[in-house]
């Protein structure tokens, strides 16, 4: 069920009405039922996967949490009976038992994710290696289903398990409540990857109908639909045309394609997240923000703090820090400092940890070398940026441009261009073709490629481009206003007629200029595939 389908709107309407008609205590069980119904409609087989993940992580976390509490209680009463070393040993023994449960659950769920998403990718690579060595008999591909949103809900569950294991919070006592945390339907298909400590604050609460909350939620949904239907799905046609015919659309077209895709991806992904957050908000539930105007970032590091924030923090908290602080890295740090000197040696474990994070980030996005190279591309850019830091400092000591509008603009444009170039790996068939098309921007540019007719031959008319352009201006305008606080809050302070004109205008613009219905192929949200 696509977020932009009539079925979803009907489903949402039904859920919303029933939700507020039910007594408060029945609201969260109903949401669980609705979430499973949502998943069931997509494909009944998916239910098995999400149920397995929910049940195993619930019981593992519960067992760890119960053991932790029981041990802590026992230990409090008995610690005086033991010497310091004995107490350490007792704690270590307890942690070891918890670790076994933790690792078993982690491996099971990451195993499910790996098997469903990466089996055929692995087979393809084995076959490729075998054919290099002359073997003609490759391994047959297997027909596996990839449950919708598996990467999102697996990561969300694993985050919860790790937090319980690390003692950040106790485990949830109610299997069904936990089941809702994993399967909450608005965020099931494309995130955000919520933390239990955040989402649980409002997920299980009783919510009475509050017009302000509901209207704010609806406004956010409408804004999401505008971004997705008016901008993303309209420019998608040109992006697809450019990608599909690389013989024709190289040079400046490849550059234009990268820019169009940057716009499409932003409008698509943030639009989807707006719908997710808006839907939750109409029911009084607060879902974590996932974007803070990322295209205003001045460098890649900042960009990743503002784009798909919940994924970034997940990788930082659950992969980067544990790896950086691992015994192996400590030993490596010591060795590298000894051999390479303090300055260079201390970077080795940091860079290795970053490399692992970006490799996993890449492969999380999809089972293909394109995504792996994209992830590693980000790693390389960030590392170069860090290494150039002394040069930047020297430059700014000589040239006094830092802080000026021109320099800030340059930084923003530079970041957008670098990120858009890296995202070309999302678009093209394979890695060599992506490099070829990127190279063509510099080698195959021709003034004839700038003609309007060339762009109207991509399946879009001048009117379509005009709609996209105006839509983009509105996006930029809203982002600029947003820097000083919530746009919805600001609009709420305006007089009723002006509020009406703004929201009704947005509704009519989406209704009329949206790319939906017959004549348009319903486009899945890009991040649904992850």
């Amino acid at each position: 069920m696509l977020f932009t389908s009539y079925e979803f709107i009907g489903f949402l309407l039904a859920v919303f009405v029933i939700y507020y008609l039910l007594p408060g205590k029945m609201q969260w069980p109903f949401l669980l039922l609705a979430s499973y119904a949502f998943y069931f409609i997509a494909d009944p087989r998916y239910l098995i996967f999400i149920a397995v993940t929910s049940v195993t992580t619930f019981f593992a976390a519960k067992a760890i949490s119960d053991k932790k509490i029981a041990f802590d209680t026992w230990f409090k009463g008995h610690k005086k009976e033991y010497e310091k070393e004995e107490r350490k040993a007792l704690k270590a023994a307890e942690k070891s038992k918890e670790k076994k449960i933790f690792l078993a659950c982690l491996l099971l769920n990451l195993g499910i994710l790996a098997v469903t998403k990466y089996t055929n990718f692995t087979i393809a690579n084995i076959n490729s290696i075998m054919s290099t060595f002359g073997s003609e008999n490759g391994i047959s591909f297997v027909d596996l289903i990839i449950p919708m949103g598996i990467s999102f809900y697996t990561f969300q569950s694993m985050g919860y398990l790790i937090d319980v294991y690390n003692g950040k919070h106790e485990a949830q006592d109610n299997l069904f409540k936990y089941g809702l945390f994993v399967s909450f339907f608005p965020q099931l298909v494309q995130g955000p990857i919520s933390r239990y400590s955040d989402l649980s604050k409002t997920l299980y609460e009783e919510h009475r109908f509050n017009w302000r909350t509901v209207s704010f939620g609806l406004e956010r949904i409408l804004w999401g639909f505008f971004k997705k239907l008016v901008i993303a799905d309209r420019i998608l046609v040109a992006v697809q045309a450019i990608i599909a015919d690389t013989d024709t659309y190289n040079g400046f077209y490849a550059f234009a394609g990268a820019m169009f895709y940057a716009l499409e991806l932003y409008a698509d992904f943030t639009g989807g997240i707006d719908i997710t957050i808006g839907v939750a908000e109409t029911m009084g539930i607060k879902v974590t923000e996932n974007f803070i105007r990322p295209y205003f970032s001045k460098n890649i590091k900042e960009y990743w703090n503002r784009w798909h924030i919940t994924m970034g923090t997940w990788f930082t908290d659950y992969i980067f820090y544990p790896i950086s602080a691992s015994q192996f890295m400590m030993k490596l740090s010591k060795k590298s400092r000894a051999k390479l000197g303090n300055n260079l040696g201390k970077r080795v474990p940091v860079y290795l940890s970053s490399f692992i994070v970006w490799f996993t980030t890449g492969i999380w996005h999809g089972a293909s070398w394109n995504f792996i190279v994209w992830g590693l591309g980000n790693f390389v850019v960030i590392m170069i940026s860090q290494e150039l830091d002394p040069f930047y400092r020297w430059f700014h000591s000589k040239v006094k441009v830092a802080g000026t509008f021109g320099w800030k603009l340059f930084q923003v444009v530079r970041t957008v261009l670098i990120m858009s170039s890296l995202r070309m790996f999302d678009c093209y068939r394979d890695v060599p073709l992506t490099f070829k098309m990127f190279g063509s921007i510099f080698t195959d540019f021709s003034p004839s490629q700038l003609k309007v007719e060339a762009f109207t031959g991509m399946g879009l008319t001048v009117y379509d481009y005009a709609v996209v352009f105006v839509g983009m201006l509105i996006l930029v305008g809203v982002s600029l206003v947003q820097r000083s606080g919530s746009v919805r809050e600001k609009i709420a302070t305006l007089s009723a007629p002006i509020r009406f004109v703004i929201w009704y205008g947005l509704f009519m613009a989406t209704l009329i200029f949206g790319a939906y219905g017959i004549g348009y192929s319903a486009s899945q949200f890009i991040y649904n595939q992850f």
């Binding site: 009539y6 008319t461 009117y463 379509d464 009723a496 009406f500 009704y504 009519m508 209704l511 009329i512 200029f513 949206g514 790319a515 939906y516 219905g517 017959i518 004549g519 348009y520």
Partner: protein, 354 residues
């Protein structure tokens, strides 16, 4: 409180008016070029009770002239025709017609028996959009929708036609609310000629049997007419293409016989009607022109009067008045098309879209 309530009511009124206006503006008007989309809704403007209602596709609305039937036989008739009208659409139009009036006879063209499944969204729209909301329209939508269609897009046409914003032209403003008449009691007139040459023979089919769904609706149509004491007359128009196979014809003969219906295959009556395929068609044998349609109407009118006792209602003041108006338009259109033919070599005005 009162002020707030008024503000809410005003907001709703403005919002609904805006939606209504946008819908009206974006809906296709079918006032030039493809006129067929405007024909179904014109039926509701005819205040008279019809003795004969023709229901079917272009083989009826381009081949029978109700004006000729009135002028020469006093038959008050209407064609509820639309492009590629499928049998379930014909059934629901018949159901609605019988609910609105009580004709003596319904004439159904059997070419649509060859379609067993929904075909084309654009044609669906041309038939269904013009219908007034009723259980018949709902039934027709549900029976006709292709996989790409959604019921809600019929309820709120703006969801279907929103993408026309970049195709809006003067017609969309001129005919925002009111439309011109494009037909003459459902008849689509063409006076030009294009001889039927090299009409292709039908290619052999793997299966000549009409589908279950087509028969299901033909049975429903038969029952509907019998239950309401309306004579159902099955016809096959005399046009040469699409090809009408002997095997199909036999199935209709058998069906009519077993259900005690009349089936007339006008393909077998071309000589009796005096059709001349060099002069009586405007598109090489697919459809008849005015000359051909009047020849067929002349023959069929006689059949309706003699075999089905359809009364001559000339002399009824209300009908005379109505038909005088239609007749005037009919003659004017004949003159307009003839003049255009002489001036431009085509029946269309130079500034027409088509």
């Amino acid at each position: 409180m009162l002020k707030k309530s008024l503000a809410v009511i005003l907001s709703i009124a403005v919002a609904v008016s805006g939606l209504w206006f946008a819908t009206k503006l974006l809906e296709p008007k079918y006032m030039s070029g493809i006129l067929e989309g405007a024909m179904i809704s014109e039926y509701y403007d005819d205040p008279t009770d019809h003795n004969v209602v023709f229901i079917g596709d272009c083989e009826l609305y381009e081949n029978i002239s109700p004006v000729y039937l009135w002028n020469n036989y006093g038959i008050n008739s209407y064609i509820r025709g639309s492009a590629q009208q499928l049998i379930w659409q014909s059934y629901y139009l018949a159901e609605e017609t019988i609910r609105l009036e009580h004709p003596d006879a319904i004439v159904f063209n059997v070419l649509s028996m060859k379609y067993n499944e929904p075909q084309n969204e654009a044609y669906n729209r041309m038939t269904i959009d013009g219908m007034r909301w009723s259980s018949s329209k709902v039934g027709s939508i549900n029976a006709s929708m292709t996989d790409e269609e959604n019921f809600i897009e019929y309820v709120f046409p703006i969801l279907r036609y929103h993408s026309r914003w970049s195709d809006l032209n003067a017609d969309d403003w001129d005919y925002l609310v009111n439309r011109d008449k494009v037909s003459f009691n459902g008849y689509y007139m063409r006076v030009d000629e294009k001889p039927a040459e090299d009409v292709p023979e039908g290619r052999p089919l793997t299966d000549y049997q009409f589908g279950d769904n087509a028969y299901y609706y033909l049975d429903k149509l038969t029952k509907l007419c019998k239950d309401n004491d309306v004579e159902l007359i099955l016809v096959k128009a005399p046009t040469l293409y699409p090809y009408w196979y002997d095997e199909w014809d036999q199935q209709m003969i058998d069906y009519a016989k077993s259900n005690d219906l009349t089936y007339i295959n006008f393909l077998n009556l071309q000589d009796e009607m005096g059709l001349d395929w060099n002069k009586d068609t405007y598109d090489g044998g697919l459809h008849l022109n005015l000359s051909g349609a009047e020849k067929m109407s002349d023959y069929f009118g006689k059949v309706l009067v003699e075999e089905f006792n359809i009364p001559d209602r000339r002399g009824e003041a209300e009908l005379d008045s109505y038909w005088n108006t239609v007749n005037d338009r009919y003659e004017l259109e004949k003159e307009r098309q003839t003049n255009n033919l002489e001036l431009y070599g085509t029946v269309h005005d130079p500034d027409e879209n088509k």
